[in-house]
């Protein structure tokens, strides 16, 4: 639910990176953080375990340009991917304006992708949202690794809405900004109603 502040002329939107454990959600945010100009970003906050697994969420505010005289800000969040953190995952989705679903392209992670996607649908429904119409893009991550699921198979399994998808390697940054741009466009389009 984007927040439009008429007194400060700001539009704030919340984007959530969702996906199975170790699919690269935090890596996406880290890359964006590293490559963004100091003026355009706030602090990146990671609430992680000692072994650097996301415990609650990562958060990063990002300032973009202006639209109709309103400053546009995106608040990027990741959820903890591990299955047993579902209670926390659900909390982060509250108030989300758009979702980036990050899928792990490795063959052995296909089931995890599907489980996470189903879990996304369930958790959205609990907040009264519908996966069928919330702004969404897909990112097929880790395309630099061997033994990958073909994109066509990922498309068939996940992209029932025929939304934009991006092949990525978040570690090297490939596809990270196009994904962000993709979801930003979808979210702003939704502002138009």
């Amino acid at each position: 639910m984007s927040f439009i502040n008429y007194s400060t002329k700001e539009i704030n939107c919340k984007i959530v990176y969702y996906g199975p454990g170790l699919c690269g959600k935090t890596t996406n945010l880290r890359y964006i953080y590293e490559k963004t100009d100091e003026k355009s970003k706030g602090k990146m906050i990671s609430l992680a375990t000692e072994s650097e697994r996301t415990l609650f969420f990562d958060f990063m505010p990002l300032k973009l340009g202006e639209i109709k005289g309103f400053k546009v800000r995106f608040h990027l969040y990741t959820v903890p991917g591990q299955v047993f953190y579902n209670a926390s995952r659900k909390l982060i989705l509250k108030g989300a304006d758009g979702i980036v679903f990050v899928a792990d392209s490795q063959i052995e992670r296909m089931d995890a992708n599907l489980d996470s996607f189903d879990n996304l649908r369930d958790n959205l429904e609990e907040h009264g949202y519908n996966l069928d119409n919330i702004p969404l893009v897909l990112q097929y991550n880790k395309r630099d690794l061997p033994d990958l699921i073909p994109v066509s198979e990922l498309e068939q399994a996940l992209n029932y809405r025929n939304v934009q998808y991006f092949e990525a390697s978040a570690l090297t940054g490939k596809g990270v900004f196009p994904t962000l741009k993709g979801i930003a466009k979808e979210v702003i389009k939704k502002l138009k109603g």
């Binding site: 927040f3 602090k43 958060f59 608040h75 196009p178």
Partner: protein, 168 residues
């Protein structure tokens, strides 16, 4: 879906800001913030520009959401107040009418007792304001304002520095 339209209203935000300033001066706090439950800062009263208000808003909302989840698991309706005690600074967080979150940051120059008292009065003053705002829900403010956004407008949001990443 849009259950908090009233928060968009400039007039209401201004009134909330005035009340926040009053709370800050009456309680001797270092800073007071109002945040929505999704982690967006609504307005703040602070002379200390060192506070990273965006991050504070995100973390406090996460904190309140986690505590709320905990309350439900324990069969409680809500835990409406959170208090974090530090060596020098302390944070008093309260969920007001399940609508907005009030954050008060204070130090040893005042006391928890005074903060609690002033917060209670603040909440009472806010009650009418929030209720009236609910009653008088205006038409959606952004009616038509963003209707003619073009793809070009959206493209321009991203600086030229990102363009080397191209389309995926």
């Amino acid at each position: 879906m849009n259950d908090k339209k009233w928060l968009y209203d400039e007039e209401i935000i201004n009134k909330l800001s005035e009340e926040l300033e009053l709370l800050k001066s009456e309680s001797g706090a270092s800073a007071t913030f109002l945040i929505d439950k999704d982690g967006q800062l609504l307005t703040c009263a602070s002379h200390n520009t060192e506070y990273d208000t965006t991050s504070i808003a995100a973390l406090v909302a996460g904190n309140v959401a986690a505590t709320d989840g905990l309350a439900k698991l324990l069969g409680e309706n809500e835990f409406s107040i959170l208090f974090h005690e530090g060596e020098n600074e302390h944070v008093h967080i309260s969920l007001i009418y399940k609508m907005v979150i009030l954050v008060v940051i204070f130090d040893e120059s005042t006391s928890l007792g005074l903060i609690r008292l002033r917060v209670k009065k603040f909440v009472n003053r806010l009650k009418d304001l929030l209720e009236n705002a609910e009653k008088n829900k205006r038409r959606e403010n952004n009616d038509g304002l963003f209707d003619d956004i073009t793809d070009d407008d959206i493209e321009k949001l991203f600086g030229p520095s990102d363009s080397e990443t191209g389309q995926g």
